[in-house]
Structure formats: C-alpha cells, structure tokens
Amino acid sequence: DQQVKQNSPSLSVQEGRISILNCDYTNSMFDYFLWYKKYPAEGPTFLISISSIKDKNEDGRFTVFLNKSAKHLSLHIVPSQPGDSAVYFCAASARGEGSQGNLIFGKGTKLSVKP
C-alpha cells in the first residue's frame, strides 16, 4: 500500500532541456514534501522541500510544484545538466505530534541527462 508513488521508473532528457519528475500521494494528512537525489553507493541528498501551505518553491534550477487537490507534486529541473543524472526520490511526511517527521518515500525515478 504505497502512500507515495512515482509511476515513472526512468526518464531520459537532453542536456539543456527541462526535466519534469512527478509524484502522487494518497494520504491527505501529508503536509510536507521533499525531493532527494541519490547517486549510486551514496546516501540520498536533500534537494528541495515544500510545505502544504505553498504551491511552489524555487531554488536555483530546481522548482517544486504542489497541487493539493490532485495530491500531486512535481520537480522541474531547468536547464538539465549531465551531472543531474541520478535517482530522484519524492518523500512526504505528516508533521505533528507522534510523527517526528518520519518520511514516506516513493520508489524513485532514474533521470538520465544526455549530452
């Protein structure tokens, strides 16, 4: 019973173009969402987050969009660079008493950016 779903296991994009990674969630109690990037044999690296009170957050080339009514978020990378090639994980948490912010992860999308 996956509460966070990344339905595309892989995505291939040309260098310089936009990469759009998608994530859907089912738990309406989630109020904090994050994207992580992971290279092989390394731990996930925090990229960007968004609170449910916002619908957009931007940090350099990375922008996360949140559509609460659709329970959907996306990560846009513009322009894409070969160094962005990695597995991207979407994660969500329901902050508040008893949760301690435990993250629920999607299965990841492998992004390949071709020169």
Binding site: G43, T45, F46, L103, I104, F105
Partner: protein, 111 residues
Amino acid sequence: DTAVSQTPKYLVTQMGNDKSIKCEQNLGHDTMYWYKQDSKKFLKIMFSYNNKELIINETVPNRFSPKSPDKAHLNLHINSLELGDSAVYFCASSRGERAQYFGPGTRLTVL
C-alpha cells in the same frame, strides 16, 4: 567534513551473528533516524529518535534495537541476523521535523 557518517560502509556476516552499525552526525541536529532500503529499492523508516522519544516502526523485528549514547550518535544493533536482513541501511538526522540529511549507507550482506 562529513555531516552524517556511518561505519562500516560494507558488512558481510553469517546468519545468527549479532552486529552493530554506528552513526554520527555533526550538524547539531536533535532527531536521528534509521532507514532500510530493501531489494526493491524502497526506503522505509525503521526508527526515529530524539532525546524525548523513540518511535519504532511496528514492522521492525525486535531483533533490531537503536542505542543512542548521546545526541550526536544513534547506533543500530541487530541480533540473530537473518538472510532477509540483507539490505542497505541509512542513518539520517534532522532539526526537529525539517529536512533530513542522510549518511552514505551501510550495505549489510548476511550469508
């Protein structure tokens, strides 16, 4: 200047053994976590701990136990290792319920 470190990076052991994985963070965070990444690549929370509370994922066998000697360390002890315990284990830390920062992972192989 590693923020979250884990040792060892690789651990190969026999079934039935008891082993520990160490985790240290130098970020001044107050909450630490252990995650398991299984063969299907899902990252699942095992424990979260701050100086007030330990929250255990109910699916984690009681052979697994976290031990925190101080706020900067959260070690994972595993008793009577089984084949199904083979996975990559990640430690993480955060300040309260903000973004978590992960260690490099420990690949455990049980033979």
